[in-house]
């Protein structure tokens, strides 16, 4: 893997003095800080000092949580779809029903339904397509009595797709809605 290297940020401004013919030494004010930390230019234009931000991910595990118990159907979180379809198939009905029961008996629980697509097509358009699938699962939950206030539908589009797919079985793994509880 290519290791990103921090470019020294000493170059703060392109301090360039231009003179037209004939060539004579130009008097140039030195605004270069020469330091290795990010700094801003005085006029804000052409600034090359870029400050990096790192976002730390965090995950918590709770062995006693039914949502995380591998023997509990609530640990099943993936609902798969046919190509170009947002219909929730019968084989995934038990999973949807289990989550509906849990949400009705845990009114403080909130769930995010994350729609996904395969990688074919553009990112933002796929984001919208994935949204359709998450809305389809939401409607299924609604019909089972779950309130809108407990459900948020979002999409990852193709961002979580396995991009090494060569066949339909693999593509299908990418066309899914993931059920994620708030705080997970």
């Amino acid at each position: 893997m290519n290791n990103k290297v921090w470019m020294s940020l000493a170059m703060v401004m392109f301090l360039v003095a231009c003179k037209s013919t004939p060539v004579t030494p130009a008097k140039v004010e030195d605004k270069s800080s020469g330091s290795s930390t990010a700094a801003s230019s005085s006029d804000g234009s052409d600034a090359n000092g870029i400050k990096e931000v790192n976002i730390d991910g965090n995950a918590n595990n709770d062995a006693n949580n039914p949502l995380r118990d591998p023997n509990n159907i609530l640990s099943k979180r993936n609902i798969y779809f046919d190509f170009n379809s947002d219909a929730v198939k019968a084989e995934f009905r038990p999973i949807v029903e289990a989550h509906a029961q849990y949400l009705k008996s845990h009114q403080d629980a909130k769930v995010i339904l994350q729609g996904n697509t395969d990688e074919r097509g553009t990112r933002e358009y796929n984001l919208s397509l994935g949204q359709r699938r998450s809305v389809a699962v939401k409607k299924a939950l609604n019909l089972l009595g779950v309130q809108d206030t407990q459900i948020e539908t979002v999409s990852y589009g193709e961002e979580k797709a396995n991009v090494n797919c060569a066949d339909e079985d693999c593509f299908q793994q990418n066309r899914r809605v993931d059920v994620v509880y708030q705080g997970e």
């Binding site: 893997m1 290519n2 290791n3 990103k4 290297v5 921090w6 470019m7 020294s8 940020l9 000493a10 170059m11 392109f14 301090l15 360039v16 003095a17 231009c18 003179k19 037209s20 013919t21 004939p22 060539v23 130009a26 140039v28 030195d30 270069s32 020469g34 990010a38 234009s45 052409d46 600034a47 870029i50 400050k51 990096e52 931000v53 790192n54 976002i55 991910g57 995010i112 994350q114 097509g121 553009t122 990112r123 933002e124 358009y125 984001l127 919208s128 397509l129 949204q131 809305v135 459900i151 948020e152 539908t153 979002v154 999409s155 990852y156 961002e159 979580k160 991009v163 090494n164 997970e184």
Partner: protein, 431 residues
């Protein structure tokens, strides 16, 4: 096909008795194919450098690479020449007219002490035997590359009459392993710097018109949220975190507001929001997917992708809302509209028989030209002077960047070794 900048190398400058060491990251490798029929033949001669300076960033090589990439120049081989002058007084014009050079450069670097350098160069008209440009630059050694780009810009402007944009920057998302990083680099791929990184996806980077801020979508909170981040301070603020998806930020030309896409638990629709996060207004109202907004350069219209007609096509709507009208009619799948800076052309992605390719539509007459080969091209983005369109492509299953001249004649590939690079966005040029 020629390969440039193959390796990432550390620079070592020995100036006077001071040793300055820094790392440069030649992240992207550039391959050029094709070429224009009427390229200007130029000779870019090596710069004379004071003893003790050892630079892997040779000014003349950077300048030559810039000019070649534009597709408008044929950079002549000078290695076989008996004399390689570094000042005007040394130039024997007959030798260079024999090489069929129209223009040539000579230059030298002097050490000013205190770690400063002076770069002097002249652009000469070989046929008229006159000087076209003479400039000098007093710089720190870290500014060698930037200075080379400035010189290339000056040569480009003098010989083509158009503004050069080699000094501009690009942004893109680089996925390395499982980590997503928004990076900014020089237009030639060097000097890559991290803007923000996360273990969750980051998509849809968009430069503010003044080039000081970037809007993007981060999934760090397990859903797409639009952030705006200052490049200089690193300050990042949530621009839009409404229920459902928040995505596809696009700045208005005056920077006062952005178009975004929200779902509120239903289908994607386009809204505008002021740059400080207030004044949310719905622009499109449909039962279809409306996404990928782009302001026209005059700020009056928002062009966007919609499948309201059954398949995704590009439509336009007044920036204040109202009825949308269809813009693309050829092809069954046209998405990701992006304007040329002058507003004359619209670049977008067309699914051309299973191949996703960059298309260019002349808005004055509706004519469309397919510019890229495909098959998985995405995210077109114009260079500041409109001459080149940068886009994302796939090579052996891995994302990389490519560029094509707007006349379709010159193609280049910029690929980062190791990373999976996507969603390029060319920065606007400082006015």
């Amino acid at each position: 096909m020629k390969v440039f900048n193959q390796h990432m190398l550390a620079l070592l400058f020995l100036v006077a008795s001071i040793v300055t060491s820094l790392q440069a990251n030649a992240a992207l490798e550039i391959e050029i194919s094709g070429g224009g029929a009427q390229q200007i033949p130029v000779a870019i001669l090596p710069f004379a450098e004071p003893a003790g300076i050892s630079s892997k960033d040779n000014l003349h090589e950077i300048i030559a690479a810039d000019l070649k990439r534009s597709g408008l120049f044929r950079v002549l081989e000078t290695r076989g020449m008996a004399n390689l002058p570094t000042a005007v007084s040394q130039v024997k014009y007959a030798e260079w007219s024999a090489l069929q050079a129209q223009a040539m450069t000579v230059g030298h670097v002097e050490s000013l002490g205190g770690g400063r350098l002076k770069v002097t160069f002249q652009l000469l008209d070989v046929l008229k035997q006159t000087q076209l440009i003479g400039m000098d630059y007093q710089i720190a050694p870290t500014q060698i590359r930037a200075t080379a780009h400035k010189i290339a810009d000056a040569i480009y402007e003098k010989l083509t009459g158009q503004r050069g944009d080699f000094s501009s920057r690009i942004a893109y998302i680089n996925k390395i392993g499982k980590r997503y990083t928004l990076q900014v680099s020089d237009a030639d791929g060097y000097n890559a710097q991290n803007v923000v990184s996360s273990n969750e996806p980051i998509i849809s980077p968009a430069w503010s018109p003044d080039g000081t801020k970037m809007a993007y979508v981060s999934f760090e909170k397990k859903k797409p949220i639009v952030y705006v981040q200052s490049l200089t301070t690193g300050d990042r603020k949530i621009l839009a975190n409404y229920k459902g998806n928040n995505s596809a930020p696009a700045w208005s030309p005056d920077g006062s507001k952005l178009a975004i896409v929200l779902t509120y638990g239903a289908n994607s629709q386009i809204y505008t929001i002021s740059a400080d996060g207030g004044d949310l207004r719905q622009v499109t109202k449909s039962n279809a997917i409306d996404t990928e907004p782009a302001f026209s350069p005059d700020g009056k219209f928002i062009y966007f992708t919609s499948d309201r007609g059954g398949r995704p096509q590009i439509y336009k709507v007044s920036a204040g809302g109202g009825d949308a009208t269809r813009v693309t009619f050829e092809g069954a799948y046209n998405v990701s509209p992006r304007f040329s800076p002058d507003g004359r052309y619209l670049a977008y992605i067309r699914n051309d028989g299973g191949k996703f390719r960059v298309a260019l539509q002349d808005l004055s007459n509706g004519q469309v030209q397919l510019l890229s080969e495909g098959a998985q091209d995405e995210s077109p983005s114009f260079s500041p002077n409109g001459r080149v369109i940068l886009y994302a492509t796939k090579v052996r299953g891995k994302g990389s960047l490519a560029a094509v001249s707007s006349d379709g004649r010159v193609r280049q590939r910029l690929s980062e070794s190791g990373g999976d690079v996507r969603e390029p966005a060319w920065a606007p040029m400082a006015k």
